[in-house]
């Protein structure tokens, strides 16, 4: 179920200004584990009173570094639920999840928070920026929290904003930005701590088609140029063109053929 060949395509939307920023951000190091995420028999059941509603059921999959994975399915099929399990925002009822070979399923809230901060980036459907912070401050907030030694998070935030084409808007607060710009700030924020994976939950759902395309091309460009794994949820069949692999969910289960 693989669709699209982004590496072969012409990238638009994020262009020349970002090239220098990419050069600055690309940090050489030891080759990481190939499998970034492994999921074994994960289920998540929601309880609405006495009624049990399956979110995801017995999902097993693995995602390798550098992949751009799209999770698709009908409304209520469990796409966002699966994404939340992978991104450690929610806890599965059964099964195990490994990130960079570390089992994270049973971790307490403190270590999960630290993992989300250090290794995972998350882009919400509805921008989800802190309204009192400028674009620049929103981006560097997680960097400030992680406080990596010798990393100037303010400068890095500036470089990432350049990468997503928002240098001129860095001093603007969310209410002064368009939906597409806010979503790109959210993507920049997700990148600040050099995560292994960026998760995006229907990042274009609230955007017009032009802004949506820009956001998706930004994600695709980052995936290609920074080799960061991207897992995104979409209900738009056309979005499969941005992905290196597509996962279909039906009634909480991975569809046959995967």
């Amino acid at each position: 179920m693989t669709s699209g060949q982004p590496a072969d395509r012409e990238i638009s939307g994020v262009n020349a200004p970002g090239a220098a920023a990419v050069a600055k951000l690309a940090t050489p190091g030891l080759p990481p584990a190939r499998k970034t995420i492994e999921v074994e028999g994960v289920s998540r059941i929601y309880h609405l009173g006495r009624v049990e509603v399956p979110g995801v059921v017995d999902v097993t999959l693995s995602i390798e570094r550098g992949e751009m994975v799209c999770i698709m399915g009908k409304s209520g099929s469990g796409k966002s639920t699966l994404l939340r399990q992978l991104s450690l925002i929610d806890r599965p009822d059964r099964g195990r999840i490994f990130i960079d070979d570390q089992e994270v399923t049973r971790l307490g809230e403190g270590p999960r928070s630290q993992l989300r901060l250090a290794k995972l980036g998350y882009v919400f459907q509805e921008y989800a920026l802190v309204p009192e912070l400028t674009a620049h401050e929103n981006v560097y907030l997680p960097g400030m929290m992680l406080g990596r030694h010798n990393v100037d998070y303010r400068r890095r935030a500036t470089e990432i904003l350049e990468l997503v084409g928002l240098t001129e808007r860095k001093r603007h607060r969310p209410r002064e930005l368009s939906g597409g710009e806010q979503q790109r700030v959210a993507i920049a924020r997700a990148l600040i701590n050099e995560p292994s994976v960026i998760f995006a939950d229907e990042p274009t759902a609230n955007l017009d088609s032009m802004s949506g395309r820009t956001v998706m091309e930004t994600l695709m460009d980052l995936n290609r140029r920074l080799d960061v794994t991207v897992v995104f949820v979409s209900h738009d069949a056309d979005d499969d063109r941005y992905a290196t692999r597509v996962l279909f969910l039906r009634d909480g289960r991975l569809a046959e053929g995967f």
Partner: protein, 405 residues
């Protein structure tokens, strides 16, 4: 998580929220805390002012710093002039005077009652007590007066029906009137009222004074003797130390501080302090509820934002601390503005328009130590009351927080 980083992130979030958040809410919260701080200060200061006033009135009009009385079993202190010279030469003594109780009843026309009549040396008495300067009418005694009496306003009455003891006073006596004094030996003498004083202190205003010059003529046995010696401290040594300096001078006397002599007034002070503590507890509770509600409403409105912050890896502790920071800033600004208003507006206003008490008008007794203590208490209460709802809010599951728009 390094504490320094945690403090930096929470401080950053709190600072941006304070600067760029809802200014109306910030202003109102600070305004409430200003009022709470002023409220915290006002009643204790008023009570302190009243207590200070009582203490001042007692020492300025009744007891001075140290009161020396005859030892048990003796009626008076002999060889007073020498004793006074020794006392005045003692370290820590500003002035000293001796009095002799000469009379017990004063009458005028059909009015008569029992009051204390003391024979004094007008010069030294004026160095120890303020009474000679608190004239309501006429003038103070001269040392050589032998026909004059100096009356407290609660004895004279002066036709002033609003006086607390008017009903039992001589009612209509003014300067120049003649009154009859019954001396301790039963002899009666007529004296002219030289002046009437008003110490604005009931106990002091129910006394009358004649000169020792005259008293020694009508009661020769009292010459160079005293029923009480009053010593005014110069404030350089504590009263207890002053007493220990005086004790070697004479063994047949007893020494008393003003605090020992005003038991009923001490009871009043205790009652004031009790009221003060109750009011302080209520005010602090109001502060706690106020900050709690402000923080709680703020948190309810930001539940989704907090969920998102936690989802991107901002720790719960940093989120809680950011709200505690905000509350502490509110409290500090409230305390600062409150202190400025209290010192520059409330204090001077009450000084000009003092509160009337039975012991005289009292202004605010402002103590820096009390102001600091109340300030810190308010800051701690504000921090604690912000901490509770913030802690509760981060216990909500991230997804529930994000979905609770």
């Amino acid at each position: 998580m390094a504490p320094g980083r945690l403090l930096r992130v929470s401080g950053f979030l709190a600072g941006r929220s304070l600067i760029r958040g809802n200014r109306g809410v910030t202003a109102m919260t600070i305004a409430v805390l200003v009022l709470i701080y002023i409220d915290l200060l006002f009643v204790p200061s008023l009570i302190q002012g009243a207590v200070d006033k009582i203490n001042r009135q007692v020492t300025d009009t009744l007891t001075s710093s140290v009161q020396i009385m005859p030892a048990r079993g003796t009626h008076d202190i002999g060889n007073v002039s020498t004793y006074l010279s020794q006392i005045r030469a003692t370290r820590g003594v500003a002035a000293a005077t001796a009095t002799y109780r000469v009379g017990s009843e004063i009458s005028h026309a059909d009015e008569s009652n029992v009051w204390t009549v003391d024979a004094i040396d007008p010069s030294s008495y004026a160095q120890v007590f303020r009474t000679p300067f608190n004239l309501a009418e006429g003038s103070y005694l001269a040392p050589t007066d032998t026909t004059s009496i100096f009356l407290g306003i609660q004895i004279a009455g002066m036709g002033n029906r609003s006086l607390r003891s008017y009903a039992t006073s001589l009612k209509t006596v003014h300067t120049g009137d003649q009154v009859t004094v019954t001396l301790i030996n039963g002899q009666t003498e007529t004296q002219q009222v030289m002046g009437i004083f008003n110490d604005q202190f009931l106990l002091a205003d129910q006394k009358a004074y004649v000169t020792q010059q005259w008293a020694s003529q009508v009661l020769p046995a009292m010459r160079d003797r005293a029923t009480t010696v009053f010593v005014k401290s110069d404030g350089t040594v504590p009263v207890d130390r002053l007493i220990s300096e005086l004790e070697p001078l004479r063994g047949d006397v007893s020494y008393h501080t003003s605090a020992e002599l005003v038991g009923p007034i001490n009871d009043e002070v205790e009652t004031f302090n009790l009221i003060n503590n109750i009011l302080r507890a209520i005010t602090l509770f109001v502060a706690l509820i106020t900050v709690f509600i402000v923080t709680y409403v703020d948190l309810v409105n930001r539940r989704r934002q907090i969920g998102i912050e936690r989802a991107i890896g901002i720790s719960s502790t940093a989120v809680i601390l950011s709200y505690v920071y905000k509350a502490v800033v509110y409290a500090f600004v409230g305390v600062g503005l409150g202190a400025v208003l209290f010192l520059t507006v409330a204090g001077p206003f009450v000084e000009r328009h003092p509160f009337a008490f039975p012991f005289g008008p009292a202004a605010l007794g402002i103590r820096a130590s009390e102001m600091w203590l109340d300030a810190w208490i308010l800051v701690v209460v504000a921090a604690a009351s912000a901490c509770i709802p913030a802690w509760r809010s981060v216990r909500i599951r991230i997804l529930d927080a994000i979905w609770s728009t």
